[in-house]
């Protein structure tokens, strides 16, 4: 546990500290998850909420991901979280006044393996039972959906027209401003450095900007969530996993869906600024060190020109990296852990698909804290599933 003096406040940070010394709920982590929770709490009438972020906002995974939002999953819980979040994203601009550039162009999965095609076919049928409109499509149809697509070496494809992409940055600003309007406070450059515990409860969060009393604490710290939980002696099976991504110069709109090649976890979409944004499932490692590699850029480029040869002259503008908060089954940890303080709520372990389900995670977590019945059963996301061995990985994790 580090003392507050170890984290000096830069001059560029807002100098005013928290307005009060005690809040009903302290949310640690001002990404899509933490801010969605704060906003949903406020909508339920719980406005005595403080959100802490260790830096300026949009510096973690919310600001670094590719913007994909999809319901093509193979587990009921992931599908339900995604479907309801897609509905919420449709209302985001009207609710917050911020344009998230949400665009439903679908997700098109390509596979180069027969066994994987069988799995995709089974997954599509399963998704259909949940009302997801995924179809197994012929490669000729894939070429019609993505003009110029070369499908040589591919054996098949699936397509869900309702999947989407958005620009993650405005999500943060939209939820922040909407939550603040309802009375929530958001404090940046605020490090949680420790907890004060009495019996089975956390009574206060120690930060570089003072000790803040609380009734509830939410761990929405993303790739930092394991380290945060350790401050109170709780071990989460969450590992930071570094992934790379890049963006091209802007082009006229031509690419409808998020295009995925499952052979190397390649994904690319065209955002509403016209840029191509994409990454790979390779070149990953357990790390919080976010360098960019030439090797990544080269493999991404090779896959791009193999699938879309006419993009050869298009130029890469920028590469970056970020860390997933990865769990062993690639599903999040939600709710209160049996072995931790009874007022510490987990909302982490999103394994690369947190942004896309953040509206629903916000709602469920807010319902839990408000003592309401949650829309979905949170026990499926309990930390205890790992010690009980009740793991069922969702193989549709890409990127």
């Amino acid at each position: 546990m580090t003392g507050s003096a170890d984290v000096p406040l830069p001059l560029i940070a807002p100098q005013a500290g928290p307005k009060k010394d005690r809040y009903e709920v302290v949310v640690i982590g001002g990404g899509a998850i933490g801010l969605a929770i704060a906003y949903e709490l406020a909508k339920l009438g719980l406005t005595d909420v403080l959100v802490l972020d260790k830096d300026s906002l949009v510096k973690g995974a919310t600001g670094r991901n590719g913007g994909g939002v999809r319901a093509q999953w193979t587990s009921t819980e992931n599908i339900q979280l995604a479907q309801r979040s897609i509905t919420a994203f449709k209302n985001f601009a009207a609710e917050t006044g911020h344009n998230s550039f949400f665009r439903q162009g679908g997700y098109l999965f390509l596979t180069r393996s027969e066994p994987q095609m069988q799995a995709l076919t089974k997954a599509a049928a399963f998704q259909n039972t949940h009302g997801v409109r995924t179809r197994v499509i012929a490669l000729e149809e894939a070429t019609r959906i993505v003009p110029g697509l070369h499908t040589g070496g591919c054996v098949g494809a699936t397509f869900n027209p309702d999947d989407a992409v958005l620009f993650p940055w405005p999500l943060v600003w939209g939820w922040k401003e909407a939550a603040e309007k309802l009375g929530v406070e958001v404090l940046t450059f605020a490090h949680a450095t420790g907890f004060e515990v009495s019996g089975s409860r956390i009574t206060a969060v120690r930060t570089n900007r003072g000790t803040i009393g609380c009734t509830w604490v939410v761990n929405a710290a993303g790739a930092w969530s394991r380290d945060l939980a350790r401050l109170v002696g709780l071990e989460l099976p969450v590992k930071p996993e570094r992934h790379e991504i890049l963006v091209s110069e802007p082009l006229k709109p031509f690419l409808g869906p998020m295009l995925v090649d499952l052979s190397n976890g390649y994904y690319v979409n065209q955002d509403m600024r016209g840029e191509l944004v994409g990454g790979l499932g390779t070149h990953t490692e357990e790390s919080m060190e976010w360098h960019s590699s030439l090797e990544f850029a080269r493999e991404f480029a090779k896959t791009t020109v193999r699938l879309l040869p006419r993009l050869g002259p298009v130029r890469v503008l920028r590469q970056w990296a970020g860390s997933y908060d990865k769990t062993p089954d690639a599903k999040p940890i939600l709710g209160v852990a049996e072995t931790g303080p009874i007022n510490l709520v987990q909302a982490n372990g999103f394994s690369g698909h947190g942004m896309m389900i953040s509206p629903m995670v916000g709602r469920l977590t807010a319902q839990l804290i408000a003592g309401q019945k949650t829309d979905l059963d949170l026990r499926r996301f309990a930390l205890e599933r790992f010690s009980r061995g009740e793991l069922e990985a969702d193989p549709m994790v890409i990127g």
Partner: protein
């Protein structure tokens, strides 16, 4: 000397007034302005606008320029085509 029509970031069509307004709305450091307005995210990747934006933040907030944060400059230094990156690696001809 600065007018409403003066551009801070030509790539993303951001004027000095846009940026000044955002600073006073609370987007008060460079990293916020990048992620709110898009300063520095266009084809020049900040080469034309970063210094001016930092100066504006310093002036508007009454801070020394040394205290203003700056965005992380990321590869590639200049835009590089997918075709170049995808070309076979050759000694002396690295992309």
């Amino acid at each position: 000397m600065v007018t409403a029509k003066e551009f801070l970031c030509r790539c993303e069509d951001i004027t000095m007034d846009d940026c000044r307004g955002a600073i006073h709305e609370g987007y008060s450091c460079f990293e916020d302005l990048k992620r709110f307005l898009g300063v520095g995210t266009g084809p020049c990747q900040g080469k034309a606008c970063v210094s001016a934006c930092m100066r504006l933040v310093a002036d508007e907030r009454g801070l020394p320029i040394e205290a203003v944060d700056v965005m992380t400059f990321r590869p590639p230094v200049r835009p590089v085509s997918f075709a170049t990156l995808a070309a076979p690696d050759q000694t002396g001809d690295r992309p």
